[in-house]
Symmetry: C2
Subunit: 130 residues, 2 copies
C-alpha cells in the first residue's frame, strides 16, 4: 500500500535537501529516514556491501564517510519530485583523509518515500569523475 | 536568463517520458530537444566522446544505439521535476546485437530545460549492472 502523495513526497524532499545543504546529513537520516531504510550503492566492496538495511547500518555508513572525508565544496541541486520518489543531484569536491587524495564525486540519488519517511535510497554515479 | 518555470519543465518532462515509454526516443529528440543540445555521458570512449553537442550528433548517437541494441524489456520511472531540470529513472534489459550479449542498463538521466526545450542531458549509471 502506498499512502505517499506528491505533496508528501515534496515535503520530505525539500526537508532532506535543506538538511544536506547545511551539511547535516545525519540529522536528515535521524529525522526523515524509516527504521527499515534500504540503501543501495552502485558498487559494493568487501567492507561496504552494495545493499544495506536498517537505520543503524545507514547511520554507521554515513558516520564512517563523514569521519573519513572532508568536503571542500559541494553543489546540491533539486529536489526533483515524482509521485512517491524524488531525486537529488550531488556534486562534491572531497578529500579522503587517510590518503589526502582529492576527488570529485558527482552522483544522483533516487529516494523512495512511504508514509512520510524515506524507505529507500539508491545512488547513481558519473563514473568518470569518481 | 532562465525563462523556464516548474510548469513548463513538468510539461516537457511528461512529454519526454511519454515518448520514451512508447519506445519513441528519436521522436522525443526531434520534438523536445534544442538544436544546441549538449549530451554528457558518464564515460567517454574513442568512438563515443563523453560530451556531444548539437542535435545532429545526438540523433546520430541515438540512431547508432537503436540499431545496435534490442530492448528486451524496460522500466521507465518519473519524471522527477525540479525548477528548470527534471530526472528520469531508466532500467533496460538489452541485447547488444553485434555480440548477442545481454545486459541490464540502469541509469538516471538529468535533463535541463530552457525556453521549453531540453538543452542538456546527463547520464548517471548504476555501474554494477553495466
Amino acid at each position: 500500500m502506498t499512502t505517499a502523495t506528491t505533496t508528501g513526497t515534496a515535503t520530505v524532499a525539500e526537508e532532506l535537501v535543506s538538511f544536506c545543504k547545511d551539511g547535516r546529513f545525519l540529522d536528515a537520516i535521524n529525522t526523515l529516514y524509516s527504521p527499515d531504510i534500504v540503501s543501495v550503492e552502485s558498487m559494493g566492496s568487501e567492507t561496504m556491501p552494495k545493499e544495506m538495511k536498517g537505520i543503524d547500518a545507514i547511520r554507521g555508513k554515513n558516520q564512517w564517510w563523514a569521519e573519513n572525508n572532508e568536503v571542500l565544496s559541494s553543489r546540491i541541486e533539486g529536489p526533483f519530485v515524482g509521485e512517491d520518489q524524488f531525486a537529488v543531484h550531488y556534486d562534491f569536491d572531497v578529500k579522503f583523509k587517510p590518503t589526502g587524495k582529492r576527488d570529485r564525486m558527482e552522483e544522483m540519488a533516487l529516494y523512495t518515500v512511504k508514509d512520510g519517511k524515506v524507505v529507500r535510497e539508491q545512488f547513481f554515479y558519473n563514473t568518470q569523475n569518481a
